[in-house]
């Protein structure tokens, strides 16, 4: 079976700005692929290229095995859910949903059936006659989703559909979209800059940076086996220790020795060590760890579920999280430790 979506070396630039830089991506039918990346990394532009709102400068885009790069949006079998919802303000909810079906010359009785069905799917039955101005933000997004789903497109495109909503609503709609995906098995490309959203919803996540895809993999793999330093530092929280290694001994960037002992030190040279703060143990718990560092507590933060201890060791700063009461005071010397598997080393 043909791939649901195939991007082959697709590029798009605006003057000197390269918004999308030879991006390649294959998506199977039924997959939920998230484009995740910092602001300006080209996620929206990639999505707009797929939807047909922008033309690529180079490369090929195929949807269900058919080249589409030179087709306008109304000839592509995709449906976009915009951040703002983009409902037609002068049409009722039912008319909004019927619009796409009418454009495809579907017969009226079938349209009515599909509209009812789509509203049922997003749990908005009974709102048929409302105008968009009479709906809340979350309801608008549900209608926008229903409007796209009613067309049964081969590809659903989401551009940060939840980012304008408040947290609880966002979590709820996120769960709804996930449930709908499980039930209906549509193929989706979902743009977000919210990591937890990407992790929670996706079958695969594509990490974007500066117009390029850095890594495409299932969420667990992105988290546990980041392909490169950017992915590691972008996903989850991490501490970065820039060190110089001379014959197995660690020094900070000014060349002063620091009290860090590594079980398997990298070869001599400049390195960046990355650690997840949740995996660092301190105090008594650090005894027996393969890797240790002695530092002084600079300050602490209470973050609800845990305390965060900010430590300095020579010219290095890092932090670790520990649940329970605050145990170490500012200025106190403590030992921190971690397992070799919890550390990533990248050449500086």
């Amino acid at each position: 079976m043909a791939l649901a979506l195939e991007l082959d070396q697709v590029s798009r630039s605006y003057g000197a700005v390269v918004a999308v830089d030879s991006v390649s991506l294959d998506v199977e039918g039924g997959e939920f692929v998230t484009l995740l990346g910092p602001s300006g990394s080209g996620k929206t532009t990639t999505l707009r290229l797929i939807g047909g709102f922008e033309r690529p400068n180079g490369g090929a885009i195929s949807i269900a095995g058919r080249r589409v790069d030179h087709l306008p949006p109304y000839k592509r079998n995709t449906a976009t859910i915009f951040q703002s919802g983009a409902l037609f303000p002068h049409k009722t909810v039912a008319e909004n949903i019927a619009y796409g079906l009418r454009m495809h010359a579907m017969n009226p009785s079938l349209i009515r059936e599909r509209v009812g069905e789509a509203l049922g799917i997003v749990q908005m039955g009974g709102f048929e006659e409302r105008y968009p101005s009479q709906l809340s933000g979350g309801q608008k997004q549900r209608v926008a989703l229903a409007r796209s789903l009613a067309l049964r497109p081969s590809l659903l495109l989401f551009d940060e559909p939840l980012s304008a909503l408040d947290l609880s609503l966002r979590l709820q709609l996120r769960a709804d979209i996930k449930r709908l995906h499980d039930e209906l098995q549509f193929t989706a490309i979902y743009v977000t800059h919210d990591q937890s959203e990407a992790m929670a919803m996706s079958s695969r996540v594509a990490i974007m940076n500066c117009g390029r895809i850095e890594q495409v993999a299932p969420p667990q793999q992105i988290y546990n086996e980041p392909a490169n330093e950017f992915v590691y530092s972008f996903i989850g929280e991490s501490c970065c220790l820039p060190v110089r290694i001379d014959d197995g001994a660690a020094r900070d960037q000014q060349g002063r020795p620091v009290d860090i002992r590594l079980a398997e030190p990298p070869s001599s040279g400049a390195w960046r060590l990355y650690l997840r703060p949740s995996r660092i143990r301190i105090g008594n718990e650090a005894h027996g760890c393969a890797n240790t560092a002695r530092g002084r507590v600079r300050f602490t933060e209470f973050l609800g579920d845990f305390n965060r201890y900010h430590l300095v060791a020579g010219g290095l700063e890092f932090f670790c999280d520990r649940a329970g009461e605050r145990q170490y005071q500012i200025g106190e010397e403590v030992e921190a430790g971690w397992d070799t598997g919890d550390m990533k080393v990248f050449a500086a």
Binding site: Y74, T80, P89, H90, Y99, M103
Partner: protein
């Protein structure tokens, strides 16, 4: 705070209190004056149209509707009224359609020399009517198709009036189109709406307030226009203002006042329609 400063601040407070009343009174007087000033010519004309006498002259000794009867009985006047309405309607259709299309093109596509084009389109609006009227008379005056001559026809006046109305429609609609959310248009394309259907089903309804207002403005501009119509009409195609001007020179009867009232009523009716429609539209959108 020192005592002196305290006393001063209390004093200035009282001063401010007095001046607020004074200012308010002055404001009311001024507003009444402006209102009166604006209403006098209209009020006097309306009063004069009910004058039973044979001249436009005060004092009015008795009142009657006889000049109204005279107006509607005279084919010359009703013909002029019909001419005015037909020309205004033609102007509305031509300038609204072309102005909207031009504004849409202007808004959607990256034209080269955009500012120059904008100024060129707006130019006629600031050109004196005499100049435009003369220009059209010279440029198109000689056109004759099978015995029908362009000069002196209603069509020529429609063309001339559209030169004023079209830039106005263009200006209004260009500003209106800029307020349309681009994503909504994209959503329509995305759902399979081709550009023409998107324009009629999505864009136009969203800017309907602007369309109606600019159409009525075009209508009113044409109804009011005098100079170009004077240049371009002949006996059978004279508009109401032209005929008024001509009969003012021969005989100043209260019939003229009646004409003025009829014309003004037509214009005010249009403006009220705009208002009513506007308010209803705002309410519908729930803003």
């Amino acid at each position: 705070m020192t005592e002196a400063a305290l006393a001063q601040s209390v004093g200035s407070g009282r001063l401010a209190g007095i001046s607020v009343t004074v200012w308010r009174a002055a404001g009311i007087v001024f507003a009444s004056f402006v209102t009166l000033y604006v209403l006098i010519p209209i009020g006097v004309t309306i009063a004069m149209s009910f004058n039973d006498g044979s001249f436009i002259r005060f004092p009015i000794t008795s009142w009657s509707l006889r000049w109204y009867e005279g107006f509607f009985a005279s084919t010359r006047w009703t013909q002029a009224l019909a001419n005015s309405l037909v020309i205004a309607l033609g102007t509305t259709v031509i300038s609204t359609v072309s102005g909207i299309l031009a504004a849409w093109t202007f808004d959607r596509y990256n034209l080269p020399l955009k500012n120059v084009i904008y100024v060129l389109i707006m130019l006629p609006l600031f050109t004196p009517g005499v100049v435009l009227g003369l220009g059209i008379a010279i440029a198109f005056g000689g056109i004759e198709i099978g015995g029908w001559s362009f000069f002196g026809s209603r069509g020529s006046v429609v063309i001339a009036h559209s030169l004023w109305a079209m830039p106005l429609v263009f200006m209004l609609m260009e500003a209106t189109f800029r307020t349309v959310d681009r994503r909504i248009i994209e959503a329509s394309y995305d759902l399979g709406g081709r550009p023409v259907r998107t324009f009629f089903e999505i864009v136009l309804p969203m800017v309907s307030t602007g369309v109606i207002s600019s159409a009525l403005f075009a209508f009113v501009i044409s109804l009011n226009e005098f100079v170009m119509a004077l240049f371009l009409t002949s006996r059978g195609t004279q508009t109401l203002p032209v005929l008024m001007w001509l009969s003012l020179r021969s005989a100043g009867t209260p019939e003229l006042a009646v004409t003025a009232v009829v014309l003004a009523t037509a214009v005010f009716a249009c403006m009220s329609l705009v208002m009513v429609w506007y308010v209803r539209q705002l309410r519908k959108l729930g803003r």
